[in-house]
Amino acid sequence: MRFLMKRNYYEDIKLFKYRSTFLWYIALIIGSFLLPLVSGNYFISQLTFICLYSIAAIGLMLLTGYTGQISLGHAAFLAIGAYTSAILTVRGIPFILALPAAGILAAGVGILIGLPALRLSGLYLAIATMAFAIIVEEILLRWVTLTRGSLGMVVNPPSIGPWSFSTEKSYYYLVLILLILGVLAAKNILRSPTGRAIIAIRDSEVAAQAIGISLPKYKTLSFSVSAFYTGIAGSLYAHKLTFINPESFTLGVSIELMAIIIIGGLGSLHGAIYGAIFVIFLPQLLILMKDYIPQLFSGQTGLNAALYGLMIIIFIIFEPTGIYGRWLKIKFNFEMFPLYRRGTFRREKKYFKVERK
């Protein structure tokens, strides 16, 4: 058993709880930097996708996992980021400017669309973002002079100054560094007053309001930060695929992002990354297991989607805290070995007691 001795309040919001965690993270970062030296291009390409999805998922996690707002339209921000970056780089603007531009434009649009919906109760945001995503998809399809419509756009591999990121491995390093920066930024946002305010909003809007947190302000802030992350991920996504068309950003992508954070574990940044690993490796796993799955299912295009849907259902019913929550429980069990009680992690149920009309 490990005992934690706290001597002042700042220890509650330290970036790393123990010195050992810090060392483990350093080891993980060094490990992921060394990985391209020993593995093939295909594996690295998959890892790049994991990092990409992780960035987008961190964005959605800040909004959904920490602020408690549902967005069913994050594919739209991914699309805005991707198309902004694509259009700008095709016109000769350097990638180093196009990347932040993608994030900022997504964040700006996020504020525009979030403002009306965020004044209302939670579910309206889900509806509004879904509507917004459908509108964006249609605009991308019809604004042919800008986006070339359903023909799609060819995007060049990016380069910053003298470095070009045209190979799988170099692009992996770019995305990995941005992911590390993104995680650090998110962790710092979360321990700042802003972050604690948005967590308070998630836990109880009424209580948060009572201690002086302005709901619209912090919800909009969280929504725009979330859109910013997703926009950045979109830009990286476009340069990774080197070809984008409106069909890469359907409602299904939004739901996939949602699946990532639910499977990984709501309310934890670890969860966003675990979820991304799960969602990227699931199709690979299915290909490996092809011989063992009945013929009826194995050749089907809908199999992945069906599994994502099923996973969302299973995790919400049986393990709402996701993979990361399960890991915490196992770890806790070992730490407290003979004293583990199931009740430690029991969730409180809430029933409607108020009058409704």
Binding site: T64, P116, I127, F132, I135, L303, A305, I317, Y351
Partner: protein, 295 residues
């Protein structure tokens, strides 16, 4: 004259489409009133209804009216099973979890349908007793398919109205949707009410599906059409049953007018643009009462 005629014709088919949206929106509204949850799988109920209807009529050769009743029955049972297996364990959990469950469910159903042998990813048409029959009224040509949709919708709404107004169960459901605790004290089984709400809205979705399939294609992406009922529900205030129908009609008419007179693509998004404007201008909808959250 012919221009007025054309507009009337478009509005008429819009009304028929609006009835479908209204029925699906009614499913949203019933579930929201009862359980404060939006069922994002409502469009998929419609799709399932259409596919089951197609199987019964085209493959097994059932008559239309029997199929309509059977689809209502099957989808009702499906709704009941869903409620028992998936929703019941989540009572008392955050609304967020339940909503995401319905999103996952919709996604799951949509992909599973593509794997069912005989359904797959193809689009099918449906032949009904009303196919290719028309009524002439002056210069207007009204197709029986549209008239049938409007007629059946009116019958369904009247039946629902009577159910909520005059039966003990209906009154119990209204009571439970206003104050669950008080309803429990009065001896109403809230569990049964929830179950019934899901049965009714799944059956409504299925009904909408089978009504819709003669005028569009049956396809696994039909559920997206059902999502257009969300703007209808928001327009109607999300808590009002007549509001859902009126919202559905408005969305239906806009839909077909924008399809006829605006450039390609507007038809698909007009409803959602209306939705966003409604959220900005009058978020409580046309029939809603502004809500204050109580502690």
């Amino acid at each position: 004259m012919s221009f007025v005629n054309e507009i009337l014709q478009t509005i008429f088919s819009g009304i028929a489409m609006g009835c479908i949206y209204g029925l699906v929106a009614l499913g949203f509204v019933l579930i929201y009133k009862g359980t404060e949850v939006i069922n994002f799988a409502q469009g998929e109920m419609m799709m399932l209804g259409a596919f089951i209807g197609y199987t019964l009529i085209t493959i097994l050769g059932f008559p239309y009216w029997a199929t309509l009743l059977l689809v209502i029955l099957i989808l009702g049972i499906f709704g009941m099973v869903l409620e028992k297996v998936l929703l019941r364990p989540l009572i008392g959990e955050p609304v967020f979890a339940i909503v995401m469950l319905t999103v996952g469910l919709g996604y799951f159903i949509r992909s599973i349908v593509t794997m069912v042998p005989g359904w797959g990813t193809n689009a099918y048409g449906l032949k009904t007793p009303f196919t290719e029959k028309f009524v002439r009224y002056g210069q207007l040509v009204l197709s029986w398919e549209h008239l049938a949709i409007i007629f059946i919708t009116i019958v369904l709404i009247l039946a629902l109205f009577c159910f909520f107004r005059f039966t003990r169960t209906g009154v119990a459901m209204r009571a439970a949707s206003q104050n669950q605790l008080a309803a429990v004290y009065m001896g109403i089984s809230v569990n049964r009410v929830f179950s019934l709400i899901w049965i009714i809205s799944a059956a409504l979705g299925g009904c909408a599906g089978i009504l819709l399939s003669p005028i569009t294609f049956i396809h696994f992406n039909m559920g997206f059409l059902g999502l257009k009922a969300l703007p209808a529900a928001v327009l109607g205030g999300f808590k009002s049953i007549p509001g859902a129908i009126v919202g559905g009609l408005i969305i239906g008419i806009t839909d077909s007018l924008s399809g006829a007179y605006l450039p390609l693509g507007w038809k698909d998004i007009a409803a959602y643009i209306i939705l966003i404007f409604i959220l900005i201008i009058r978020p409580e909808g046309l029939f809603g009462i502004p809500l204050k959250k109580k502690v």
